[in-house]
Amino acid sequence: MRRDWYPPTLLADCCISCMPQTLDLLLALPFVMAAAVAAAHRLPRTAIAWVAALAPVLGLVLLGAMAPAILDGQVLHSRHVWLPRIGLEFTLRVDGFAWMFAMLVLAIGALVIMYARYYLSRNDSASRFLAFLLLFMGAMLGVVISGNLLLLSIFWELTSLTSFLLIGFWSHRQDAREGARMALVITGGGGLALLGGVLLIGRIAGSYDLDVVLSAGDTLRASPLYPWALYLVLGGIFTKSAQFPFHFWLPQAMAAPTPVSAYLHSATMVKAGVFLLARLHPALAGTDLFFYTVCTIGAATLLIGAWNAIFEQDLKGLLAYSTISHLGLITMLFGLSTPVAVVAGVFHILNHAIFKASLFMAAGIIDHETHTRDIRKLGGLRRLMPFTSALAIIASLSMAGIPLLNGFLSKEMFFAAAIETDAPLPMRIFTGTAALLAGVLGVAYSLRFVYETFFGKGPRDLDTTPHEPPRWMKIPVEVLVVLCVAVGIFPALTIAPVLHAGASAILGAATPEYSLAVWHGLNWPLAMSLAGVVGGIALYFGLARLLDLHAVVSRAIGRDIFKRNLELLFVAGNRITAALANGSLQRTLLWLVVSALVAMALPLLRDPGHALAWNGGWHTPMQWPGWVLWLLMLVPAVATLRLYRHRLLAVACIGGTGLAVSLSFVFLSAPDLALTQLMVEMVTLVLLLLAMNYLPEQSPHETTLPRRQRDGAIALVTGTVVGALAWAMMLRPHDTVAVEMLERSLPQAWGHNVVNVILVDFRGFDTFGEITVFAIAGLVVHALLRRARMAPERHFDGRPVDLSMPANLMQVLAPMVVAVSIYLYLRGHNAPGGGFIAGLVLAVPLLIQYVLQGARSVESRFGFDFIRTIGIGVVLALVSGVASMAFGVPFLTSGHLNLHLPLIGELELASAMAFDTGVYLVVFGAAMLMLSMMGTIKASRTRKTQRGVVDPLRRSDFTGEEHT
């Protein structure tokens, strides 16, 4: 930063000495005040407005303090780190252009706040409105003074978001909601495009810092990614600035309260697009691609907007289309890219903001007073509200580009730029024609606005008599109109320094000599202006004579297409989602199986030679009992496929397979597994049978043959692939860590049964998780059934069968089973057994007693709090593991103690036993909890059974169920 300049005032001095903080404060003001306004929602409306106005007013003061430095051509910075890793810095950067724009944003913002104070009705929450408005102001200010492109795109999206809230402020109105959403979708989508573009720029330029990017124009333009970057950025710009073909959201956004339109759609939101176009002009412009694209789009927008404005019946709609047209004009100017065009563009940004804001406010006053915005109902207002009419007429004339008003100046510069481009001749003709047409159309719609609102007959069908609005409501309009005139007459005195600061910030050394005089002598632009005025008047009256302008129903084709497409998107989303995720478990599982199949089969298919190669023979010979077990396992499995619809039979068959699997484990040297499998088999059978009482007896035939064939094929292929994998795996040499476990089991873990040692020691943590799972399963079953009331599927009449004989035998058996359970538990470390098996062995006889004696009889005499048993078991397992921590070794490290007791002899105590006790309790508790819950389901209050009483004579001895 240069230090050799002279500080003119004290405030400026102060500001300069702490310039970064000033920038931060400038940006923070609106946000802070937004929060203040939101918090102060109980204050009176005027107070709220004052609080709100503080933000722009103080901001303007700060900007004023910066003025000397800015006008001196300096660039002010404030830098904070935010996310340097990705190049996102909280850098604020104010140069002439940003300063000019910030002035615009804050000045019009202040006026709008004042205006809004009187505009909003009693029902509207001023605090909410102004908070939104200030948030928007902050976002817009952020766009303007961001010194980092990523930061800029953040504020960019924030303007979309806050404008969404503002446009939808009257959320009870459907058009407001639609308009808000449309604006959000278009501008938000554009923001995403901009983000992409910014990221590309960053990738090319190596930084998102604006200074770097602006000076990297040549690199950018030379990059092969340039077209992508350009189009993505333009995507953001064109959507924001309502350029064709994205222009339609702007008229739709007129459902917003008028202060919003006055602010967003004249000076800020829509100007953000052209702001960025100007901002990145040094970096992106200067190629044919840029020139043709931007000029064409700008011209198209200019004409389409202007043409539509003529036929619009809504006062604000007309202004909106006019805005579109003027934005097109500005875009086209930046597209032309000549220094003069750029100056004109910057100038017109200012001028348009001033006259358009005042026009919107005037339209708002009219709406406020007449309760309509329909041009067809209005007319002759000059008599009823002469002062407002005068203001509006002046502003309109400025919009039409009538001399002595600011609009004239920039329009004339536009004409000059349009014809003085150094493009090929056809393009020059095109731009010139477009400019001329724009002049004609601009005059025509301005005339229509003025003539049909303030002159002629009317107003018609109004429910009130309009009169002048409150004094304070007019002040903002007055200020702006005065500005229009002042700039129009004394441009050099009023606007020149600002314009120069803005334009030279963009153009730098290329800033041309230009004069802001009203009179430049007789030249082509003046001729075009004249032709425009004459042509415009002729066009308006010609049209008015040729067709009934009031009867024209303007149709926004773009909007309709958009709405239809959006609706289509929702429908498509709905349809596609419903078609994919139809809530079918069958489909979900099918996809899962198919995915797994693909994952397993693809590598095999790609390399079948290696994958299925065997290592020294097909297999090791099988001892013959294996084949019996093999049949025993598979025949019931296949039989289940045939019988599965008859559930009882299927369950019996599965019992066969289960037994065979257990026996196979025994056969293949895994006695512990066999024991576990046997017990689990037993308990599962009981659970299945308990559940079957509450489930239909059989599955109906329902799936079609093709479906079954498809499933069958998938099943077959899956089975083949899994089998092939298993087979191929078994033929490979085996190099496992288990050898070391075998070696270390006895000397270091003091257990002969290596499987049990693994369970309680090497991998005790797995067991830890496993019992937790088991415990939770018990809890889940309990939670699901505790309060559930269910009716059995069918019911047998009569008393329960008397099973006192088996029960009596069971009494003989039970003590022995308990003893066996303890035996298995104690021996587990050295022989097949262990806490888990022992726990189930203890549970099963109890369960059989439930079956034989009935639940009530057992529970009345054998009250056990299974839940706490589980809890205590978990604690025990935990404590046994934690105990080792006291000795400075990790959790679950086993300890070992060889006690020599008198009389009893050697007693081996391993800490693993304590852990196993926890396992024992958890397993017993959870298993019993499940079984007792399922055995003691409460009867439904509403019905005794689902399908009636079993008629013994109609039962099938094949399925055991009643014939249906």
Partner: protein, 511 residues
């Protein structure tokens, strides 16, 4: 002896056991809640200490049972694990707060199941053993069944059945993969596996690929990747609010596992197996982005929509992780935390909305009055901004970080799908907001009788806590991304991990 790594597993387990023991009419709810919060507080302290430890870059490993890593089970508290545990813990605090407003009294065993769920999650994140990972997956899943179903009824039961069966099937596939892996490689410790995978003879390569592929399928099923996401939206939508909020981290477990496997087992040093399946994950992730965004657009119910948002964020993470670079991985890790908090917050907010709308519930297509809409409105707005990836919140930052670090070769696919789906999500979420908050009938009685449930301050507070996390993530994005970046670097240093774990020396046993 530093016992820190085991404590995130043991504390919730002790909490659960204590909850079970005090689950008796003799003790009131105050006792149960006190127990739950004590456990939670202890966990927070431990996790804070773990974070401090991991931030130094030190990998804290814990040899359970004092066996060398190859024989026993090892816990590994590296940056990634600690990151995941920390996210889970923060999330859990908010969920517990929400549940303590009253749901815990309606769902039997809530506190025990909740603590068990935390135990499963933390275990899954901390373990360095692939079978132990399976076990903790199961702990986490079965606890989630309990949380999902306890106190539920009606269609929720059928949905729960879907969820359970799907997960049980996936778990079986997990076991098949583990069986193959052990059968082919002879070990279960991840570091050992990494060494052995790098040396797989060509003859076994196809088999190992099949096993690893199956493993990835299973993880993708848990993380809801196309076409395995079908179960998620409905399930999450039907879960109680506190539970679905906690479930926000459940898909992330699958993603975590994908990340772990693809860095440790399929890292650059894995020879022929290096990067196996990553291109599939990328393409499927990109496709999921679009499909999930369509789901967001097409869902009629708010909570289903949030479910699709979960799928969407998971898809973003798949893309981030499968790109394989440190930058994208770091962006992904940051985004992962963000998406946990955001999705959870949205579920809690959806509950606030649903309860205020009476019979209309969370069905967006029914216009219904929304009394007291300001607070949920503001919360929804913030959460929606975050979830849709709009600035300035963490969703935007994470996404920008991801896009910025996307390698050139994949830029087209990743950028177009991410940005396009973002737009779709913006459209969908804004429509939801408009329909719920703005399209309210003029007359109160238009939508039938309304009896909004009383608003409980704790429930709102829980949502605010989560959104505070989101905002905090945005403000402190730099330090968080720095951590994430260091995490990614650590993850990509497979050799360092492997050597560290294999070189661990037991306290007293011979190595």
């Amino acid at each position: 002896m530093n016992h820190l790594p085991i404590l995130p597993v043991l504390i919730p387990m002790a909490g659960a056991a204590a909850s079970l023991i005090v689950e008796h009419n003799r003790f009131g709810f105050t006792v149960r809640r006190t127990v739950a919060w004590l456990a939670m507080a202890a966990l927070v302290v431990v996790v804070a200490m773990l974070v401090i430890g991991a931030s130094s870059g030190h990998v804290d490993a814990y040899l359970l049972g004092d066996w060398p890593a190859r024989l026993g089970i090892t816990l590994v508290a590296d940056r990634l694990s600690v990151w995941m545990v920390a996210v889970t813990t923060l999330l859990a605090c908010a969920c517990l707060l929400h549940a303590c407003a009253g749901w815990d009294a309606r769902a039997p065993h809530f506190h025990a199941l909740f603590q068990f769920q935390l135990m499963g999650l933390n275990g899954a994140f901390l373990t360095g053993d692939i079978f132990n990972l399976f076990v903790f997956f199961e702990v986490m899943l079965i606890a989630s069944y309990g949380l999902l179903l306890s106190g539920g009824r009606g269609l929720g039961m059928r949905n729960g059945f879907h969820y359970v069966v799907f997960n049980v099937t996936a778990s079986s596939l997990f076991l098949i993969a583990l069986g193959l892996i052990y059968g082919l490689l002879g070990t279960l410790n991840m570091a050992e596996l990494a060494v052995r995978i790098a040396q797989v003879p060509p003859a076994n390569l196809a088999l190992v690929k099949a096993a690893i592929g199956l493993l990835l399928v299973v993880f993708c099923a848990k993380a809801a990747l196309l076409p395995l996401y079908l179960w998620l939206p409905e399930t999450y939508a039907r879960a109680p609010a506190a539970v679905s909020a906690l479930f926000a981290v459940m898909t992330k477990v699958g993603l975590y596992a994908v990340l772990r496997v693809s860095t440790v087992l399929l890292g650059a040093g894995a020879g022929a197996m290096a990067g196996y399946g990553q291109s599939w994950l990328l393409v499927l992730g990109a496709a999921t982005l679009i499909v999930a965004a369509l789901g967001v657009l097409g869902s009629a119910r708010l909570r289903v929509m949030i479910g699709y948002l979960v799928v969407w964020s998971a898809a973003t993470l798949f893309v981030a992780f499968s790109l394989g670079g440190a930058g994208t991985m770091a962006a992904g890790l940051y985004y992962l935390a963000h998406s946990c908090f955001t999705a959870a917050a949205l579920f809690l907010i959806a509950d606030l909305i649903r309860r205020r709308r009476g019979a209309a519930g969370d069905d967006k297509s029914i216009p219904a009055p929304l009394p007291g809409r300001t607070v949920p409105g503001v919360l929804f707005l913030i959460a929606a901004v975050a979830v849709a990836g709009l600035p300035p919140l963490s969703g935007f930052l994470g996404k920008v970080a991801l896009l910025a670090s996307t390698p050139v070769a994949h830029t087209g696919l990743v950028w177009s799908t991410v940005l396009l789906s973002s737009l779709m999500v913006i459209i969908g979420v804004s429509r939801a907001g408009v329909r719920l908050f703005w399209r309210v009938p003029a007359q109160i009685h238009e939508a039938g009788p309304v009896n909004p449930a009383p608003a409980r301050p704790a429930e709102t507070a829980a949502a605010i806590v989560l959104l505070t996390c989101v905002v905090g993530m945005s403000v402190f994005a730099e330090p968080l991304l720095t951590y994430a970046d260091a995490t990614a670097q650590q993850l990509l240093d497979t050799a360092g991990y492997v050597d560290h774990i294999r070189g661990l020396v037991p306290a007293m046993r011979e190595p």
